[in-house]
Each structure stands twice: as structure tokens, then as C-alpha cells.
């Protein structure tokens, strides 16, 4: 327990150096990367599929992390952006016959525009009011997708079936494995982009707004622009995640993108550690695997078991995976010191 307390008191000191707090050390990053690359070679296709979904939700959590952890704005509407991304990819692939890889940047751009535009009215709101406005977006989205006007494109309630891409160049690997590596490359690219974004001038502007809006504007930061920009970037990344998710699941339907998804993503962000980007993947693992574990413990009370686990996590490690990582780092440091003496 004392270690945890130490970590908590340590946390503000680390936060003062955002560059270190944002990422993992080079060594740790490489180990994680090596694990992510090697793991699929040893497991079944089903596990590879789950790992793909882990990356996809990880991206969506990362996007929310940029918005909330970076610029301090809440959103319960990420499922709407995810849905738009998923449908963009699915419609372009199935109706326009476009290559799956090309649909992703388009999904990203459309969602960026959508998020940026949504950010305009959202500027007037903050805190819980903003959360409510985005909540409205999330509840509206599934019904919008069912609307008769779009039905020719969206397939209405029935949804759209998406064809899973084969590995290119005749590579002798399964569709699942190819899609996993494809997703991994995109995830890494977006991760590096996000880390650099938060380290850049824009990122510092986000964080200045998060910490104190008035002070930020006094320093000459265009608060309105950066707040909407954060919304746009977050929505864009979520859109790419949605597109990848649609390809992996091979199906889009309005019922897949309800408010439950938005809340799951929010939960993933909190469990992973708000503002700590590597935590996104931990948060994603939490929202994918913990419900399965809960179901394994009790079928009838799976929701209650999930609630208890979530409560314990929030109670014991309120800063999420970030806190665990810090404790681990702390212990390693101690170990090294004691070895030297």
C-alpha cells in the first residue's frame, strides 16, 4: 500500500515533465512492440482476431485520451465518430468497390471534419455540459443510421456485410493475421503521430487549455481553434479505428454503435490512465477481456461482477494503468539502486 501512496504523491512531479509522462521508455516500448509483433505467430486465428480488436479499440481509446487527457474536454459521443468511420469504410468498400486501405484515410478525414464541426457549438459548453452534448450525439447516431433516406447506402437496420481482405502479394498468411499486422502498422503510426502531436506546440496548447483556459488565452493561445482542433483530431482517429473495426468484424449495423460503446471507450480511458497514451491499450484490453472474465465467473450476474471488478480497479489504482506502471518503475529503480550498493 505504501508504494501506491508514494506513486500517487509522485505523480504530480512527473506530470511537470510531460514528455516523459506521455510515453514509455524506449526499452519498454521495444519490448511491447516485439511482443505485439511476435504474439500472433503462436496463437489461434481467434486470438489474433481478438488482438486486432484490442488494437482497434486501443486506437479509439487513444483518440479519446487526446481529447480528454490532452485538451481536458469530455466526450461520451465517441461511438458516433466510430460509427461514421465504420460506415464510411463499409459503404466505400461495398458500394464503390474501393480498396479497404484507401477507405481508412477517407474515414479519418470525414470524421475529422465531422468532429471539427461538432466542436464549434461544443465550444460554448464545458465539463458535464459538454459530456451531455456529446452523449446526445451518441444516442442519436444509431437512429440516424436507420433513417430511410440513407437506407440505400447504409442497409438500414440490416446493416452491411463487409468482405474481409486477403493478404496482398500472395503472402502465405491468413486473413486474420494480415489484418492484424495491417492494423498494427496503422496503430503504431497513429501512436507516434499522437505522441508527437502532444509534444508539439499544439499539444502544449491543448494542455495549457486543459490546465487553465483563461491563463492559456492570456498567453496568446487561440482557445477556440485548439479546442475544436482537439475534437477534430480525436474524431479523425476514432474514425480510422471505426473503419478498421468494420473490416475486422466484417459487418456494420446501427446496433453495434450504441451509447454502450461510447461508455466502454470512456471506461477504457480511465482504466488506462487519463492522459497517458500507452495506457490506451491497457484500457482497451480491460473493455474487451474483463466482460468475458466476468461472464466466466457468473452468467446471470456478469454485469454485477464486471461492476465489482471495475470498482476495485478504480478504488485501488485510481490513476489506472499509469499508476501501476509508475509503481513498477519505482520498484525497478529501487532494485537497481540496491544492486549498486
Amino acid at each position: 500500500m505504501s508504494a501506491v501512496q508514494e506513486a500517487v504523491t509522485d505523480a504530480p512531479a512527473v506530470e511537470a515533465i510531460p514528455k516523459r509522462a506521455l510515453t514509455l521508455g524506449t526499452g519498454t516500448s521495444l519490448v511491447v512492440l516485439a511482443l505485439l509483433i511476435a504474439a500472433p505467430l503462436f496463437v489461434k486465428n481467434f486470438i489474433i482476431f481478438q488482438m486486432t480488436m484490442l488494437l482497434v479499440y486501443g486506437l479509439a481509446v487513444l483518440a479519446l485520451n487526446i481529447l480528454t487527457g490532452g485538451s481536458g474536454q469530455f466526450s461520451l459521443g465517441q461511438s458516433a465518430f466510430y460509427a461514421v468511420g465504420a460506415y464510411t469504410s463499409a459503404i466505400l468498400m461495398e458500394h464503390a468497390g474501393m480498396n479497404y486501405a484507401l477507405t481508412l484515410p477517407i474515414a479519418g478525414i470525414i470524421c475529422f471534419a465531422f468532429g471539427f464541426l461538432f466542436g464549434q457549438p461544443a465550444l460554448r459548453l464545458s465539463g458535464v455540459y459538454l459530456a451531455l452534448a456529446t452523449f446526445a450525439l451518441a444516442t442519436a447516431m444509431p437512429q440516424l443510421l436507420k433513417l430511410g433516406y440513407f437506407e440505400h447506402w447504409t442497409g438500414g437496420v440490416q446493416g452491411l456485410v463487409v468482405t474481409k481482405p486477403d493478404a496482398p502479394f500472395g503472402l502465405p498468411i491468413s486473413q486474420d493475421m494480415w489484418l492484424y499486422y495491417f492494423t498494427l502498422v496503422i496503430t503504431i503510426a497513429i501512436y507516434i503521430f499522437s505522441v508527437n502531436l502532444l509534444k508539439s506546440r499544439s499539444g502544449r496548447a491543448f494542455m495549457a487549455i486543459r490546465d487553465n483556459e483563461i491563463a492559456a488565452s492570456a498567453m496568446g493561445i487561440d482557445v477556440a481553434l485548439y479546442k475544436t482542433l482537439a475534437f477534430g483530431v480525436s474524431a479523425g482517429i476514432t474514425g480510422v479505428a471505426g473503419g478498421l473495426g468494420a473490416i475486422a468484424v466484417q459487418f456494420v449495423a446501427p446496433d453495434g454503435y450504441t451509447i454502450t460503446l461510447a461508455i466502454s471507450l470512456f471506461l477504457g480511458m480511465v482504466v488506462g490512465g487519463v492522459g497517458w497514451l500507452p495506457g490506451s491499450i491497457v484500457g482497451s484490453a480491460f473493455i474487451i477481456f474483463v466482460p468475458n472474465i466476468a461472464e466466466g465467473i457468473s452468467k446471470g450476474l456478469s454485469g454485477a461482477v464486471f461492476g465489482v471488478i471495475l470498482f476495485l480497479v478504480i478504488f485501488l489504482v485510481p490513476h489506472g494503468a499509469r499508476q501501476v506502471a509508475l509503481v513498477a518503475q519505482h520498484l525497478l529503480g529501487k532494485l537497481k539502486k540496491s544492486q549498486k550498493t
Binding site: 480488436m53 437512429q143 437496420v157 449495423a253 461472464e295
Partner: protein, 409 residues
């Protein structure tokens, strides 16, 4: 899609071919696919135990209890059923994950009675690609009866279209000059139904004088009813889910419109629709049914229902016999067991589909007398018969013959 076959599957297929070629010579050789052995048959299932449709989770629980009963009585040809059921929360992406888990990790022989049109749509392509039976899906959509494009998927309950055709047949016979007003829910359920009605009326489709659709998000449907009344129709067909069906019954009484009122089977529940709308408002309403109603005393001495009630008492004491989902789960599980019994010692996925497609005159305990399950290689719609019923007093009274919803032309 098939340009890069899965290696495992290829290897597996070779094994099966090797097995079949050797098996031909020996008499009554045992044949197995993944998920079946000398002692066990693994059956997968996906249900919304959580989420917006969790009320249907009862179906999965009833099925589990029924398979327990079968196991306690010695299993099927000496093999115990291992029923693995997962929660998808009515979310299609989760359904895909659970279906893959069942097929690739748990290695089930087949996926039985997964619930919900969106969830089944999501897993249909995957299961057909893997050649895993997706048997007796729990949805009323008509698209499951498509053996040509999806030879591994089969429905169970009467489709919405079959039911609508039965009303069309009834109206053409009993009220040939009827002017029909239709209120339908603007989703797959409503549209499927409307199509069935029009197909059933055929050249007489002009009998429909007014159509109104509503969204589930609308708080009331009063204005639609008023508009339909203004059309001068003398038949009102209510293709609605329970909440709106009850509203319609009430509103009709309020504005003193007394057409021949038909409600879809989905909303024929006495407890969920008729009682809240008021028994006095519901007299003479028509609907159709294919299963016995656990609440109806006329079945108290019915041998099938006696078996059903005895099963509930012994294996599923917490279940509510008034809940239509319990009756449903029992009937579906019984059909599954029948198919597995017919498979004998040849428990390959192909043979399971073959046997499922050769059910003739099978009558589970909970179906109405005369309603039977019939399938063939070109007919993947097991139940397509219903019987009309009229609401009288405080319960439904069946009348007329069992009518088939198959398109005659």
C-alpha cells in the same frame, strides 16, 4: 473470399475425405467433425443475457435446462450435450467475437439458436464460410430461408412474412371486399411483414387503402391512427411491437373506430399488451399463434404441456411458465435434440445440416396441435403454419384450420 482457404480447414477437409473414403467400406462407421466425440456433442449458442434485449436471455437458460434434462436421461445415443452459451449484449461486433470463440476456441460442432436479427446477420457470412451450421436462429426475419446462398443457416419460428400471408389469406376468404389500413413499425420487422402481406394479397394488393409507418422513438402513434381512420378502412392491421400495439388498441376505443382489428403475433401477449390496453377494448381482436400459451388453462390436460410443466418443475423451477420465451426455448431445444438423434453416429457438420433439412411432421410438445416442423433441402423454414385466434373475455380462442404461410404461387 475463398481464394485463400484456411490451412487448418484444408487439412481438416482432407482428413474428412480420408475418413469418408475409409468409412464407406465399413458398415455404420462412426463419423465425427470437430465438436463431436464418442461421449460428447458440443453445441454453441449466443444470447443477449445483458443489454437492451436481455429479456430474451430466458431462452438460453431454458435451453440449457432442457439439455441438462437430456443429459440426465442418458444423453443422445450415449453422448452428453455440452451446451456453451455466451453473452453478446445484442451487439453485432460482440456476436462476431463470441461466434469465433465458439468455433475456433471451444470448437463446437454447431451454433444453435443465436438470437437477434442484427447478431445473426453479423455472423452468417463467417459461419457459412467456415461451413459451421447456424441452426434454428432465433429471429423472425425471412432472409434465413435461403439455402442456395447460405446453405449452413436455418431459421426456426414462422417468419414475419409467413404470418402476414396468413392474414392475407384469411382476409381474402372471409372479407373479400375489405379495405385494409396498415400501421407498421419502420424497421426490418415492419417492412418484412408488409412485404408478406402484399405478396399474400397478390393481385388483390389494392385492398390496402392506407399505410402509415411509425418510428420506435415516437412517444405515441395517435395521429397515425386518426389518419388511418379517415381513410375509411374497415380492417386495421397493426404491425407493431407490444408498447405500440397496446396504444393502438386503446386509441381505437377512444375514437370509437371499430374495424376488424388484427395484431401481429409479436404483440399478442395477454399480459404485455391486452391487459394494459384493457380487456374491454380488446374484444374480437384477431391474431395468429403457432405455440401453446403457458397461461391458457385449455392446455392444462394436454400431454405435451404436461411434459413441459413437469420439465419446468424438475429442471428449471425458477422459470415463469407465462413467459413466451420459456415455451420458445423448450421447443427450439427439442428440435435440436431431434436433429441430433436423427444424425445417429454420423455427427459431421454436413450430416447435421442434411438431417435438419429432412425434418418431416415433427411436433415439439409446445407447438399447437397440427402445427408441425417440415424442412427440405430447398425449404429452410421449419415452422410456417399458424392458427388464427380471436380474443374473447380474458383470453385468446383459437379458431379455423391450421394455415400455412407458404406462398402458393
Amino acid at each position: 473470399m475463398h481464394s485463400r482457404p484456411n490451412f487448418l480447414l484444408a487439412a481438416f477437409a482432407t482428413t474428412v475425405i480420408a475418413l469418408t473414403s475409409t468409412a464407406d467400406s465399413a458398415f455404420a462407421q462412426k463419423k465425427y467433425d470437430t465438436g463431436a466425440t464418442d461421449t460428447e456433442i458440443k453445441i454453441g449458442n449466443i444470447m443477449p443475457y445483458s443489454g437492451p434485449a436481455s429479456a430474451y436471455g430466458v431462452i438460453g437458460k431454458t435451453e440449457a435446462a432442457y439439455f441438462n434434462k437430456i443429459n440426465a436421461e442418458g444423453g443422445i445415443n450415449g453422448r452428453k450435450i455440452n451446451f456453451i452459451t455466451y453473452d453478446d449484449g445484442y451487439s453485432p461486433p460482440k456476436a462476431v467475437e463470441q461466434a469465433r470463440k465458439l468455433v475456433e476456441s471451444d470448437e463446437v460442432l454447431l451454433v444453435f439458436n443465436p438470437l437477434g436479427t442484427p447478431s445473426n446477420s453479423a455472423i452468417q457470412k463467417y459461419l457459412n464460410g467456415k461451413k459451421v451450421p447456424q441452426l434454428f436462429v432465433a429471429t423472425g426475419a425471412t432472409k434465413w430461408n435461403d439455402p442456395k446462398d447460405f446453405p449452413w443457416t436455418m431459421g426456426w419460428q414462422p417468419s414475419y412474412q409467413s404470418e402476414a400471408r396468413i392474414y392475407a389469406k384469411y382476409l381474402m376468404k372471409e372479407k373479400p371486399g375489405a379495405k385494409i389500413a396498415v400501421l407498421f413499425q419502420n424497421d426490418d420487422f415492419g417492412k418484412d411483414y408488409l412485404k408478406g402481406l402484399k405478396d399474400g394479397l397478390g393481385t388483390k394488393a389494392s385492398m390496402i387503402v392506407a399505410e402509415e409507418s411509425y418510428e420506435t422513438s415516437e412517444p405515441t402513434i395517435d395521429n397515425h391512427i386518426v389518419k388511418l381512420k379517415a381513410s375509411g378502412a374497415d380492417v386495421f392491421l397493426s404491425i407493431t411491437t407490444p408498447k405500440f400495439a397496446a396504444q393502438a388498441i386503446k386509441k381505437l376505443a377512444e375514437i370509437e373506430w371499430k374495424p376488424l382489428h388484427i395484431v401481429s403475433n409479436v404483440s399478442a401477449s395477454v399480459g404485455g399488451v391486452i391487459k394494459p390496453a384493457g380487456f374491454e377494448n380488446a374484444q374480437g381482436i384477431l391474431s395468429a399463434a403457432y405455440a401453446k400459451d403457458g397461461a391458457d388453462p385449455q392446455w392444462d390436460n394436454d400431454p405435451g404441456m404436461k411434459k413441459f410443466l413437469a420439465f419446468l418443475e424438475k429442471y428449471d423451477p425458477d422459470a415463469n411458465k407465462l413467459d413466451g420465451s420459456v415455451v420458445y426455448g423448450y421447443g427450439a431445444a427439442q428440435t435440436m435434440v431431434k436433429v441430433l438423434q436423427m444424425c445417429g453416429d454420423n455427427l459431421t457438420r454436413e450430416n447435421v445440416m442434411k438431417q435438419a433439412a429432412s425434418l418431416k411432421g415433427f411436433a415439439p410438445d409446445t407447438l399447437l396441435p397440427g402445427v408441425t416442423i417440415n424442412t427440405s433441402p430447398t425449404d429452410f423454414a421449419p415452422i410456417d403454419q399458424l392458427q388464427m385466434m380471436r380474443f374473447k373475455g380474458e383470453k385468446w380462442e383459437l379458431f379455423g384450420d391450421i394455415i400455412s404461410g407458404e406462398l402458393s404461387n
